[in-house]
Amino acid sequence: MSLDTRLQSVFREVFDDNSLTLSGDFSPATHADWDSVRHVELLIAMEEEFGIKFTTEEAASPASAAQFKTWLRAKGVTD
C-alpha cells in the first residue's frame, strides 16, 4: 500500500475520523485538535505502523503531514 494511504489511515485512526483526507499542509496550525497529546499519539502510531523510531529531536519539532512524510522516506519507508 502506498505511503500516502498508510499515512492517511494512521491519521484517521488517531483523529478517530474515517472521512479524514490527508493533505500536505495538515498540521497543528490547520487542525486545532492536533494538540500535544495527539502529537504523541501520532508518533507512537507511526512508529508502530512503519516499524521505525523517531529521534528525540524529530519528535520534539513542529510537524505536518508533509514533514512526517519526509522523515519517513529518510528512514527508508518507500512509496
Partner: protein, 714 residues
C-alpha cells in the same frame, strides 16, 4: 505472506473474492488488520459487488471482509449479524478485534443494549493499547445514550509525576472489562504534594472515590549514592504516607499507590545495589517500607510497578526519547500491562474478583482420558509432558489456599473421575481441595449452574477452565456471564494463561478465605443431617449452634467489606461500600453488627453484617446480609432481635427496614413479613421498638452490640 494490498484491490470483484476465499494459514491480528485496511482502501463503487461475491463458506477471511464491507455500506444490522455468528467460536488474538467490530456495528445500528457483551469481551484484550483505545471511544459513544452497563462505578483521580493522557483510555477500557464504569480525572502534571495540600477546585468537584498516586523513580530524587541512606528512605516513606493520610482525610477515598521500578542501565552498575547507600538498594528498601506501611494503613493498596515492569521487561518499560519529549511513562507499549495491574487492584477493592474456578479434568488436570486410559495411563508427573499438569495443579492449589473455591466440571463417570484424586501418586489436588465435584454426562452449562447454586455464588463469579475449544464455545454461548479462560494448546502455559487474566486478586486474606473449602464441605454434610432429623428445631439443637454478635472493628473490617461487596442472595438492599465508606459510617455512629457462627461441625466464621442509620426517632436498617452458607438456622431472627433490642435501649421509636428487590435476592423477598414487620410504603417495613423481637432459644447467642457511642449519646 499477505498479498500486496495495492495489487489486490485493483482486482475485479469476483477475482478478489476468490482470492480472499482461498486464504488459509494462521489467522492473526495482522491478517485482521490487513482486511480492515483493504476494506478502508476500496473505492465506494467496488464495495457492493465485492460484498455480494464473497462466499462466507470459503474462508474466515471472506466472512470478516464481508462484515467489514457491509459496515462500510452502512448496513449495520446485517454486519452485526455476521459478527454475532463468530462470538462464541472466535478464540485467540483476533477475538478482541472481532468483538470491537461487532460492538461498533451494534452501536451504529442503535442497539446499545446488545453491544455491552462484545464491548466487555473486547475490553478484556490486554494485548493492544490501540484496541483498548478504540474500545474506550465506543464506550464514550455508548455513554451518550445512558449509563454504561457495569457492576460498579468508580471516580478515579490520577495524581502523577508523569503524563497519563494515554493511560486513561486504556485504563477505562480494561476496567470496563472487569465490570467497572471508571471515570478518570487527571490532576495537573507533577503537582503531587500541592494537589493534596491545596487541591484544584476541579479535583474537589470531581470528588474521587479513589486516588492513584503514580510517581516514577525520578520523582524520589535519590542520588547514585546517598550520604544518609536510611534517612533518605525514611523521609520519602514518611512523605508518601502523609499524602495518603491527607488524601483520606480530604476526599475520604481509597488510595492506590504505585511503587517504584529499579531502572536499568545505572551508571553505578553492580554498585547501585551492592552499596547500602546506592540508589538501587534505596529503591528496593523503599518498596518494602511502602508494603509495610500499606498493610497498617486502612484503605491503601499498592500497585506493584516493580513487579509488573519486571514481568514486562524493564528495558522495554521506558521509552527514553518519549520521556524527554513529553514525560511519557511507561513506554506506550507497556500501557496495557500497567493498566491491567491497576485494574487488578480496583477489581479487588470493589469486590469484583471471581470466587470459583470450575475445572475440566481430561486434558486440563492431566493428559489423556481417564475413562479410556485408566489411572496408569494418564499423563501426570514422571514425564516432561506430565510435569506440566503437575505444575498447573500446584497453581490451582495455591488459588484454593488463597480462598478461591475449586469445583470439578467434567464429562466422565463419577467413579472414573475420582480415581486419580484417590489413587494417583502424582495428583497434587485431593478430593478435599474440591468444594463441589460434578462429573457426569450432562452438558457443562448445566453442571456450571449446579456448581454456582451449590456454592451459593453467582455465575458471574465462576471461571471456567477447559482445554477443549468446543466446550468453551458452548459455555460462552449458553452462559455468557461465566468467565471463560482460553487455555493454550501447550499445558506448560496453562497457569500463566489463567494468572495473566488477573481474575482472582484479593487485597487481604481472611480466616474465612483460608477455611472456605472445608466450610462448604461441612455445609453439604449439614444438609444431609437435615434430611435425617425430625423438626427444624430438633435438627438445629443437634448442631449446637453458637452465634456471636458484635460491633464492627478494625480486626474484622476486611472480611466485613468483602461480604458487603459480594453477597447477592441474602441481602436486603445490596448496597455496596468500600472499606473507606464503611469506616465513615462507623465514625458517624451508626449501629453496626457483625455475626460470627460456629457449630458442632465447624466454624463458619464471620458470615453476617448489619448497618442501621439513625434518622431522628427512627433507626433505619440500611444494610443487612448473610452468607448463604448459614441460612435456615434462624440466625436471621437472632440478628434482628439484637437490632430491635438496641433500638429500644437507645430509645428510638421504631426500626424502619428497607428492601430493594434484585434479580438475585429472592430469598429475602418476604423476610420482613416473616419476621413480623408491618409493611409501610412500598419497599419499607416497620417494627415499633417497644415490642421485643424473640431471640430463638435453640441458638446459643452472645450479643455484644448493646453498647457504643450511639447508646450513650442518646
Amino acid at each position: 505472506m499477505l498479498p500486496d494490498l495495492d495489487q489486490l484491490r485493483e482486482l475485479p470483484a469476483e477475482e478478489l473474492a476468490v482470492n480472499v476465499g482461498r486464504w488459509e494459514g494462521p489467522w492473526t491480528r495482522q491478517s485482521a488488520e490487513y482486511l480492515s485496511r483493504l476494506a478502508d482502501a476500496l473505492e465506494e463503487d467496488r464495495v457492493r459487488p465485492l460484498a455480494a461475491s464473497l462466499e462466507p463458506e470459503t474462508s474466515l477471511a471472506a466472512v470478516w471482509l464481508r462484515a467489514l464491507l457491509l459496515e462500510k455500506l452502512r448496513e449495520f444490522d446485517e454486519a452485526a449479524g455476521v459478527w454475532r455468528r463468530l462470538w462464541w467460536t472466535t478464540d485467540g488474538e483476533t477475538r478482541g478485534a472481532m468483538m470491537l467490530a461487532s460492538a461498533r456495528c451494534l452501536l451504529s445500528a442503535g442497539r446499545t443494549q446488545d453491544a455491552w457483551y462484545p464491548l466487555r469481551e473486547a475490553a478484556k484484550d490486554g494485548g493492544s493499547a490501540k484496541l483498548l483505545r478504540q474500545v474506550d471511544r465506543l464506550l464514550r459513544r455508548a455513554a451518550k445514550e445512558g449509563p454504561l452497563q457495569a457492576k460498579r462505578r468508580c471516580r478515579l483521580a490520577i495524581v502523577s509525576s508523569f503524563t497519563n493522557d494515554l493511560l486513561a483510555p486504556v485504563l477505562r477500557a480494561l476496567s470496563f472489562g472487569a465490570g467497572l464504569d471508571l471515570e478518570v480525572y487527571l490532576a495537573p502534571f507533577n503537582q503531587i504534594v500541592q494537589q493534596m495540600q491545596q487541591p484544584d477546585p476541579a479535583l474537589v468537584t470531581f470528588a474521587p472515590d479513589a486516588v492513584l498516586f503514580a510517581m516514577d523513580w525520578r520523582w524520589l530524587g535519590f542520588a547514585d549514592e546517598e550520604a544518609d541512606a536510611r534517612g533518605a528512605v525514611a523521609e520519602r516513606a514518611r512523605q508518601i504516607e502523609e499524602l495518603w493520610t491527607t488524601c483520606r482525610q480530604r476526599f475520604n477515598s481509597q488510595v492506590l499507590q504505585c511503587n517504584f521500578e529499579v531502572p536499568p542501565d545505572a551508571g553505578y552498575g553492580l554498585l547501585s545495589a551492592a552499596l547500602g547507600s546506592g540508589r538501587g538498594r534505596l529503591l528496593r528498601t523503599l518498596n518494602l517500607e511502602l508494603w509495610a506501611a500499606a498493610e497498617r494503613s486502612p484503605g491503601v493498596a499498592i500497585v506493584d510497578v516493580e513487579q509488573v515492569s519486571a514481568e514486562f521487561g524493564r528495558r522495554e518499560w521506558s521509552d527514553a526519547a518519549l520521556w524527554n519529549v513529553s514525560k511519557q511513562y511507561p513506554a506506550p507499549g507497556a500501557l496495557p500491562a500497567l493498566g491491567q495491574e491497576i485494574t487488578a487492584v480496583l477489581r479487588a477493592v470493589y469486590g469484583l474478583s471471581a470466587k470459583c474456578a470450575a475445572l475440566d479434568l481430561d486434558g486440563t488436570l492431566w493428559g489423556g482420558v481417564i475413562g479410556e486410559d485408566g489411572v496408569q495411563g494418564i499423563q501426570l508427573g514422571g514425564t516432561p509432558a506430565g510435569e506440566a499438569f503437575v505444575a498447573f495443579q500446584r497453581y490451582l492449589l495455591s488459588l484454593s489456599k488463597s480462598g478461591v473455591l475449586l469445583a470439578v466440571c467434567s464429562k466422565n463417570n463419577d467413579a472414573d473421575a475420582r480415581q486419580p484424586f484417590r489413587e494417583h501418586p502424582e495428583m497434587v489436588l485431593k478430593e478435599s481441595d474440591i468444594a463441589l465435584f460434578c462429573a457426569n454426562w450432562q452438558p457443562k452449562e448445566e453442571n456450571l449452574r449446579a456448581i454456582a447454586a451449590g456454592l451459593n455464588i453467582g455465575l458471574d463469579a465462576v471461571v471456567f477452565l477447559d482445554d477443549n475449544p468446543a466446550e468453551r464455545a458452548r459455555v460462552r454461548q449458553n452462559l455468557p456471564e461465566v468467565e471463560v479462560v482460553e487455555l493454550p494448546t501447550e499445558p506448560s502455559l496453562y497457569a500463566p494463561a489463567v494468572a495473566q487474566r488477573r481474575l482472582f486478586d484479593k487485597l487481604s486474606l481472611t480466616a474465612e478465605d483460608r477455611e472456605r473449602t472445608a466450610s462448604i464441605q461441612q455445609n453439604l454434610e449439614r444438609q444431609n443431617l437435615a434430611g435425617s432429623a425430625g423438626s427444624l428445631d430438633e435438627y438445629l439443637a443437634g448442631l449446637e449452634i453458637r452465634v456471636e454478635l458484635f460491633p464492627f472493628d478494625d480486626l474484622n473490617l476486611a472480611r466485613i467489606v468483602q461480604l458487603i461487596n459480594k453477597t447477592n442472595q441474602f441481602n436486603v438492599t445490596t448496597r455496596r461500600f468500600t472499606e473507606t465508606e464503611v469506616r465513615a459510617l462507623m465514625a458517624q455512629g451508626c449501629y453496626t453488627q457483625a455475626m460470627r457462627t460456629s457449630d458442632r461441625l465447624g466454624d463458619s466464621g464471620l458470615t453476617g453484617v448489619m448497618i442501621a442509620i439513625p434518622e431522628g426517632d427512627t433507626l433505619r436498617l440500611d444494610t443487612w446480609l448473610m452468607s448463604c452458607r448459614v441460612l435456615g438456622r434462624r440466625i436471621d431472627e437472632a440478628m434482628f432481635a439484637a437490632l430491635v433490642e438496641f433500638a429500644r435501649r437507645a430509645e428510638f421509636r421504631r426500626v424502619r427496614c428497607e428492601f430493594i428487590a434484585t434479580p438475585k435476592n429472592e430469598v429475602v423477598q418476604d423476610l420482613f413479613e416473616k419476621l413480623g414487620c408491618t409493611p409501610e410504603e412500598p419497599g419499607f417495613f416497620e417494627w415499633p421498638s417497644a415490642r421485643p423481637a424473640a431471640m430463638p432459644s435453640v441458638l446459643h447467642c452472645v450479643d455484644r452490640t448493646q453498647s457504643g457511642a450511639l447508646l450513650s449519646e442518646r
